[in-house]
Amino acid sequence: MKLDYKNLLPQIITLLAVVLVFGFFSYNAQVNMENRGITFGYGFLSQESSFDVQFSLIEFDGSHSYFRAYLVGLLNTILVSVIGIILATIIGVVVGIARLSKNYLIEKTAAVYVEFFRNIPLLLQIFFWYFAALRALPLPQDAEPMLGVFFLTIKGFFVPAFIWNNLDIFIYSVIAAIISIIFVKIYARKKQENEGKQTPVLFISIGLLLILPLLSFLIGGSSFSIDIPVIKQLSKSGFTYEGGIGLPPELIALALALSLYTATFIAECVRAGVQGVGKGQKEAAASIGLTPNQVLKLVIMPQALRIIIPPTTNQYLNLTKNSSLAAAIAYPDLVLIFAGTALMQTGRAIEIVSITMLTYLTLSISISILMNWYNKKIAIKEK
């Protein structure tokens, strides 16, 4: 390849400018920090954090390090993002399809929902779900149990916990079921290609997923008991629940707000995707004798997904980044624990903000890569 100097020069100049600007900023920061006696370094990460966290997926208390506090925050951010993404996708798909419904009421309800939720700032919605909806929830002692074991109270949603014996055997059985399903699928495809016969893969899969774990209980020796939350008196007027799993109201409010907000955008992506598939495709598919289900599964969806996936990726990224609004309602996410409490206690602003930025960047890029991979997989393979 011949080097094109005419095109190279502006690029070199740009690169130089970028390096200079960054160099200037770091030099300036260094000089100013030195002037004010601020030291720089990541050594604080191994220091004892000496604060507690309300809700964490891994064991944490003040005797653990700041690095572990970072992990707690990161996991909580991932947790609320994953819950949010799953809920937003489900709601988004349902509402998106509802918007295409021929039923006037369904279509209009979906449209009103979309217009309402996507046009109110997310932070206000979070405040609404947390402060307005929270106040309406009963105190622990007044809570009516749902199905006898679920308690939705102002202090959180208390659900029964499973206490497992020989959990590993159960997990192995699930893994075995998944592997055999993959084999069944491969076999079914070969059979269809060779003999043109279809195999009821779905039923076999469900069967496998039920039978193998069941066997682990019957012969494998795994079992579980259920730990139901029990009300506990703290004071004359104060109660809480003990046992089971307590999901903090902050998590519920945040997940709800994030998914209801993001679902509106996903719904529009879905609607656009389905409408983007030519009418002729559906008619052609019907004319070669495919059932309506097959038309949707084999003709419409594969083509619609190509349109739906790229903008939906953006929404997933937005949701993950928006989860940082958690700090407003005390959900202990990365921003609250690490860029909040840890930053305040150590005063290491530059270090902590840089780590936090890099973390969000990594999270976003990971989601992007995953979605791009999926997008490539479903893209039209031109031969």
């Binding site: 130089l16 300036n28 809480t240 602003a349």
Partner: protein
């Protein structure tokens, strides 16, 4: 080549501008803060987002409180007018960054003086304008009469990024009680969550509890428990590295306290010029050259006393008369059984 000449020139210009900035940053002069403040014509002061008695804005945007008075005193000393202050409301999380990044010159925001804050993050505490301690507020109908009644599983609301968070852990750990910390960035949200019943107790500095209690839907249903679980000396903070500015802020506060000790107040300050007591005469600038040592004129302390008042007046106006903490407790002069004791202004 000429096609890119324009881009090149603009780049060179940009680099040149950057270097000018850098050289200016490096040539830090003695009390740049004082010089800048006089040039701007106002004192840049960081305060809370609304804590009655300490720093609170009314509907017209006028700030009042004992923390506010420290900044007003500095403005009176440096600029001759106590009203020449620009207040910046800051959350607990933002406050130190705002100071170190040069957005404000004094942080007077009910901030606890601790070793790590003083030594580690480029700040200098100049004194204490309120001796506080952390306490707990609970609902009256809970029947709690002491922190010893707390049981495992109690949930506690508080502010994020404060010493409160650390004290709370120390306290519950030493008692062997498991608890659920619920931490918010803004005080208003803590109040709202506690009010809604999210938490069994609200913990922060006792003065803060007394002030925030007024904001609850029915303040009389809540009570602050008698125990104090920590020392919280609250005081103004400046950036490290400008010792002249540091001295100005420190002595502006000290003069207010010393004025109360010698019975000098906003009403009688002028007449005190003819006092027989040399200490009083020094305070009102009738004797000695104290202002010159700080790079100010000799009437600086007189202006503070006349425009802002002495510490006792400030306390009465902001904290006692508003019903927050009528009893001065430790914040009484050492001569009257409190612990307010400042080095002599001489």
């Amino acid at each position: 080549m000429f096609k890119y000449l324009k881009q090149l020139t603009s780049l060179v210009a940009m680099v040149a501008v950057l270097f000018t900035f850098t050289t200016e940053t490096m040539a830090a002069k003695k009390s740049k803060t004082l010089k800048n403040t006089q040039k701007k014509g106002f004192v840049r002061c960081g305060v809370s987002q609304g804590l009655p008695g300490f720093s609170n804005a009314d509907a017209a945007g006028n700030w009042t409180g004992v923390d506010v008075d420290v900044c007003r005193a500095v403005a009176a000393a440096v600029l001759g007018d106590a009203n020449k202050v620009k207040f910046t409301p800051l959350s607990a999380k933002e406050r130190f960054t705002a100071l170190t990044s040069n957005e404000i010159d004094i942080l007077s925001r009910n901030t606890t003086w601790t070793l790590s804050r003083d030594a580690d993050i480029g700040l200098t505490f100049v004194g204490v304008n309120f001796y506080d301690g952390q306490g707990f507020m609970v609902r009256k109908n809970s029947g709690y009469s002491s922190v010893n009644d707390f049981k495992n599983g109690i949930s506690a609301c508080t502010n994020l990024g404060t010493t409160t968070e650390l004290n709370m852990r120390d306290f519950f750990n030493s008692k062997g009680i498991s608890y659920e910390p619920v931490t918010f960035e803004k005080a208003d949200e803590v109040v709202a969550a506690y009010d809604a019943g999210r938490c069994d107790t609200y913990t922060t500095d006792k003065s803060g509890l007394a002030a925030q209690r007024i904001k609850l839907s029915s303040p009389d249903d809540h009570v602050v428990l008698p125990e104090t679980i920590s020392k919280e000396p609250l005081g103004p903070v400046v950036r490290q590295g400008d010792s002249v500015w540091e001295d100005i802020v420190r002595w502006s506060l000290n003069v207010m306290i010393e004025a109360e000790e010698y019975g000098v107040n906003s009403a009688n300050a002028d007449s005190m010029k003819t006092s027989d007591n040399p200490a009083v005469k020094r305070l009102v600038g009738a004797e000695g050259e104290l202002g010159a040592a700080l790079g100010l004129d000799n009437d600086w302390s007189l202006r503070i006393i006349k425009q802002v008042g002495n510490y006792g007046e400030s306390y009465k106006r902001n904290i006692a008369d508003t019903g927050i903490l009528p009893d001065r407790g430790p914040n009484e002069l050492w001569t009257k059984g409190g612990i307010l004791y400042v080095p002599p202004a001489r």
